[in-house]
């Protein structure tokens, strides 16, 4: 993508020492197993994929807190460096454009997640409770947001209506949980060769070739998306 190349190029030209900045952040990170530095471009690529996947998937996907934090500090870092540039300099314009594009992607991505969190609050909270810490879909900030939101809605409902209602029956609370339609169709592109993907109710199997595109119910390929073997488009 040419825009992303611009960033890479711009970063190199002005010696903004991307990798050094990112390495700094990585040092604080205890879980950082192999110390191989990740480039700004790689971070952006991961976020862009996460963004399109999130926009296309009916359910909430795994959070990307680490990548997001890296990108945000990178943005802050670039802004700092750019203060010294002349505003009418063409390079300033290119940088500024790229920053705004990155900001837009991050904002759009997080907005999309908030929409899902608000729509399926209880469903998501319940599911995350059963997951290991490493597999939780909600970031810690989102988890707090979800809890607060659920509480505010409950408070509103209680004050206006439910406290005046008799007998909440067993199963009623479950009945009210809003969940996404996992069988809704999505557009999928295979990143790698995947064999034996079940594509129908009658266990029909299909082999995906790298780069091939498909329309398919989300649930049948959710694990491929999770493992990054395929992405939604």
């Amino acid at each position: 993508m040419s825009d992303s190349e611009n960033l890479e190029q711009a970063l190199n030209e002005h010696d903004l020492s991307t990798e050094a900045a990112l390495a700094d952040v990585n040092e604080d990170d205890d879980e950082d197993e192999d110390a191989e530095p990740i480039t700004a471009q790689k971070v952006l690529d991961i976020l862009e994929t996460a963004w399109t996947n999130e926009m296309c998937a009916p359910e909430l996907l795994q959070h990307q807190t680490d990548m997001l934090e890296l990108m945000l500090s990178q943005v802050a870092h670039m802004e700092e460096q750019m203060k010294d540039l002349d505003k009418n300099d063409f390079r300033f314009v290119v940088h500024q454009m790229e920053l705004e594009r990155i900001r837009y992607i991050m904002a759009s991505y997080l907005r999309c997640r908030l929409q899902k969190i608000e729509a399926f609050t209880q469903h998501i909270i319940n599911q995350d409770e059963t997951r290991d810490a490493a597999d939780k879909r909600l970031s810690s900030e989102e988890a707090k947001y979800a809890q607060d939101f659920a509480q505010h809605v409950d408070e509103y409902f209680t004050k206006v209506a439910t406290r005046y209602m008799p007998n909440q029956q067993r199963g009623e609370a479950e009945q009210r949980i809003v969940a996404p339609n996992l069988m809704s169709h999505v557009f999928l592109k295979a990143n790698v060769a995947v064999s034996g993907v079940i594509v129908g109710v009658d266990d029909e199997e299909v082999d995906l070739t790298p780069g091939s595109q498909h329309i398919i119910p989300y649930q049948l390929v959710a694990d491929l998306v999770q493992k990054n073997q395929a992405q939604l488009i």
């Binding site: 837009y104 997080l110 907005r111 608000e118 509103y156 209506a161 005046y164 008799p166």
Partner: protein, 200 residues
């Protein structure tokens, strides 16, 4: 409750009909309507409790269909009422994104107290979430709404706004009908609020 021509649950359904019909931002909270539904729920419940106990004592099943019907009606009432609140909540949420953290006073009049509280709570937790993102670096999600294509945009001032300070300290006077060439990201909120108009 007139039983001859009105079905159980019709009041509750009317709440939703009125809400669906109104394309306005949000119609006034229907205090009376909600109270009537709650009363109907209570009445059905009490009748059912009374008859269920007599059924338990005598074992007479002849009233079973009626109990059953009333139970369905009670659940129906609840569902309609809660759907009414749920839909209003969606619209109240939308106001936070479109108007910002303060609701225009004439719209506020359409909300009941718990709804105003909900709006304030929602607004607060959204703000604190936005501040906390990225290890406290923060990001404004109510801005950056469209993919940027240009850094600067041409805008016309729709009303007298007064001084507006840009990030770099430059101050512009936003007078009605004046035109400016300004950084897109910084004036987006003003366009959203209808103070500036983005012209081609």
């Amino acid at each position: 409750m007139s039983r001859s021509n009105q079905m159980f649950g019709d009041n509750a359904f009317d709440l939703l009909k009125d809400l669906k019909r109104s394309a306005q931002t949000i119609p006034a909270f229907d205090d009376d309507g909600v109270r009537q539904v709650l009363e109907e729920i209570k009445a059905i419940f009490e009748e059912n409790v009374a008859q269920a106990s007599s059924y338990n004592n005598s074992g007479d099943r002849s009233l079973w269909p009626l109990l059953n019907y009333r139970h369905a009606a009670l659940q129906r009432n609840k569902r309609c009422l809660l759907a009414y609140l749920y839909e209003r909540m969606q619209r109240i949420k939308a106001m936070r994104w479109e108007f910002g953290p303060i609701i225009p006073s004439d719209i506020k009049q359409a909300l009941c107290d718990p709804e105003v509280q909900f709006f304030n709570n929602y607004s607060k937790s959204l703000a604190s979430y936005m501040r906390s993102v990225g290890d406290g670096q923060g990001i404004d999600l109510t801005g950056n709404l469209r993919p940027p294509k240009s850094l600067y945009i041409e805008v016309r001032c729709v009303e007298n706004y007064g001084k507006f300070e840009l990030d770099d300290g430059e101050v512009v006077h936003l007078k009605k009908n004046s035109q400016h060439y300004l950084p897109r990201a910084q004036v987006e909120p003003l366009v959203r609020q209808g103070i500036l108009q983005h012209i081609a």
